[in-house]
Amino acid sequence: MSKLLEVTGLTTRFRTERGAVMAVDDVSFDVDAGETLAIVGESGSGKSVTALSLMRLIPNPPGEITAGTVMFEGRDLLKLSDAEMQAVRGDRIAMIFQEPMTSLNPSLTVGLQVGEPVQLHRGATWKAALEKAGELLMRVRIPDAKARVDAYPHQFSGGMRQRAMIAMALACQPKLIIADEPTTALDVTVQSQILSLLKELTRETGAALILITHDLGVVARYADRVSVMYAGRVVETGTARDIYKRPQHPYTRGLMACVPRLDGALGSRLVPIEGQPPDLSRLPPGCAFAPRCVDVTDKCLLSRPVLEDVGGGHHKACFVPANAAAGVPAHA
């Protein structure tokens, strides 16, 4: 059986005053039905642009998808007409954004907005859409959901708004949900509630989930597979378990080393990754991570590594063999 979503060689370019910037550069990944893929990386690593590119929501100009294919349910999304793509958005693929405080229109009731996808894609009447919105709000466990259909967003807390956004995403039972840092703006306790809810609901409906995050704790708990992005490229991809137990790329190892662990030795120090993320408009000719890498070799500075299988569906884009790396040891 083919995958639900297969992204191959996706490249998104932004024209800026300082020349073209490859925000997403030759990115490939795939997602199976019902699977959760986490895309991890620092700010500016191209995670969000990747998500927006899948939805074809890159503002053009200045942005433009210049290469690649996005096969979803047997069709290349990048080749669809605007009208066909509009029919996919919100119906087959839904998206949840990172700002629950501003993702809802302040002038409309929550019910109207949660029911909007049903209206758009199923031709439901206002009344039917509102009824559906009530059911959806109940499913995302908003207390007293039926009464809250008529409430305005300013009467909702941040967590409730994100629940409403999840309800909206689920409205048409999409096959794929893209959640772009869905919990960044929320309290820690609310974060885990929201993620558990999201996970549970995707399991119930059989939807696949692309979880975009910079929080490795979230990845460990909720993801089946992980793609690590750096400077617009995927540098490592594998099952969540493999990435945790045997991180192969020096960048992934660096990320792991700067997360506090409960089972680590007392008094052990967190090791930061030295340096700054690169300026995308002037990337070095070789590996983009080379200037910050502890295992850097001459070859790294000259040519760019591509993703290679290191066994068991685990891929990395690095010349240095993991066992030869002198850098931060992997957590065993």
């Binding site: 939805m55 929501l57 100009p61 509009q86 029919a87 996919v88 958005r89 919100g90 119906d91 839904a94 998206m95 954004f97 700002e99 501003t102 993702s103 809802l104 229109n105 302040p106 002038s107 409309l108 907005q113 909007e116 996808p117 758009l120 894609h121 466990r141 207390p143 007293d144 009464a147 809250r148 008529d150 409430a151 305005y152 300013h154 009467q155 956004m165 909206m168 509630q193």
Partner: protein, 296 residues
């Protein structure tokens, strides 16, 4: 978030109109006075036929240039026409012209502003340069040229004022739209598969409503003022229609020393109404400012 959550009372907000009126009286008493003047003016205009004691052009040669009295509250003009009746009918004309032209102006502003503001890019660039060109012409000159080509009349005045004010005002709406366009909920609606017209109507329009309301209100005042100016210059609605501007320039100016009430009555009415509308518009702008939202 357990099932045993206490029955939550979602506070039923008072209607936005009621809330607005309460805030207007509490926070902007001057604006409330403006609102009262505006409402009285509207009332007089709408019910002029019932309120006026005499006909507009009912002449009474025996009672020429009579000062204000019990019989003629605001006196009579050189043909013995009752000034109060003429002022009331003048209010009616001002209401019709003011509202028709301001409505037209607001529609033009909203259409141009929303389309160029949301679409941006080349459309925005080209249309806004045309707006620039239009705004760099003195309004009054355009008005006088158009009226002298088409001839005077109420429809012409409404059209010319509506278009002129509409094109200029589109800049304000465009500015509001540009800031709303970048809001997350607009992106969110796009990601839900909403079409451009739907986003414009459902998500952009309701959120630029405050500036639209303010624009409309201030336009009513401005139109009334400019219309009087045109009538004063003889380019407005031609006599014997009882426009306030016409009354000022015709009988008002001629008999200024002999019968000052002929100029004072329409002049004072005009001043008060325009003042009232402007004060109301200012108050509304302050109250509807999105930065002061959420305090309700």
């Amino acid at each position: 978030m357990s099932a045993a959550a206490e029955p939550l009372v979602v506070p039923r907000p008072r209607g936005p109109v009621t809330t607005f009126c309460i805030r207007l009286i509490r926070e902007k008493p001057l604006g409330a006075i403006g609102a009262v003047i505006f409402l009285v003016f509207l009332f007089c205009g709408v019910f002029a036929d019932i309120l006026a004691p005499y006909g507009i052009n009912q002449i009474s040669p025996a009672n020429r240039l009579k000062p204000p009295s019990v019989k003629y509250w605001l006196g009579t003009d050189h043909l013995g026409r009752d000034m109060l009746s003429r002022i009331l009918y003048g209010a009616q004309l001002s209401v019709i012209i003011g509202f028709a032209a301001a409505t037209l102006a607001t529609i033009v502003s909203v259409v141009i502003g929303i389309v160029t503001g949301y679409l941006g890019g080349k459309v925005d660039l080209i249309v806004q340069r045309l707006v620039d060109a239009w705004m760099s012409f003195p309004e009054l000159i355009i008005l006088i040229v158009v009226v002298s080509v088409l001839g005077p009349g109420m429809i012409q005045v409404i059209f010319v004022l509506g278009l002129t004010f509409g094109i200029g005002g589109s800049r304000i709406i465009r500015g509001a739209v540009v800031s709303v366009r970048e809001q997350m909920y607009v992106h969110s609606a796009q990601s839900m598969g909403a079409s451009t017209p739907r986003i414009l109507m459902q998500h952009i329009l309701p959120n630029v409503l405050p500036p639209i309301i303010v624009l409309f209100t201030t336009r009513v005042g401005a139109v009334i003022l400019v219309e009087s100016g045109l009538s004063f210059l003889g380019f407005g609605v031609p006599p014997p229609a009882p426009t306030w501007g016409g009354m000022l320039s015709g009988t008002g100016r001629t008999y200024m020393y002999l019968a000052p009430w002929l100029a004072l009555a329409p002049g004072l009415c005009l001043t008060m109404v325009v003042y009232g509308i402007n004060v109301l518009g200012d108050a509304m702008r302050d109250l509807l400012d999105p930065r002061m939202r959420g305090s309700r």
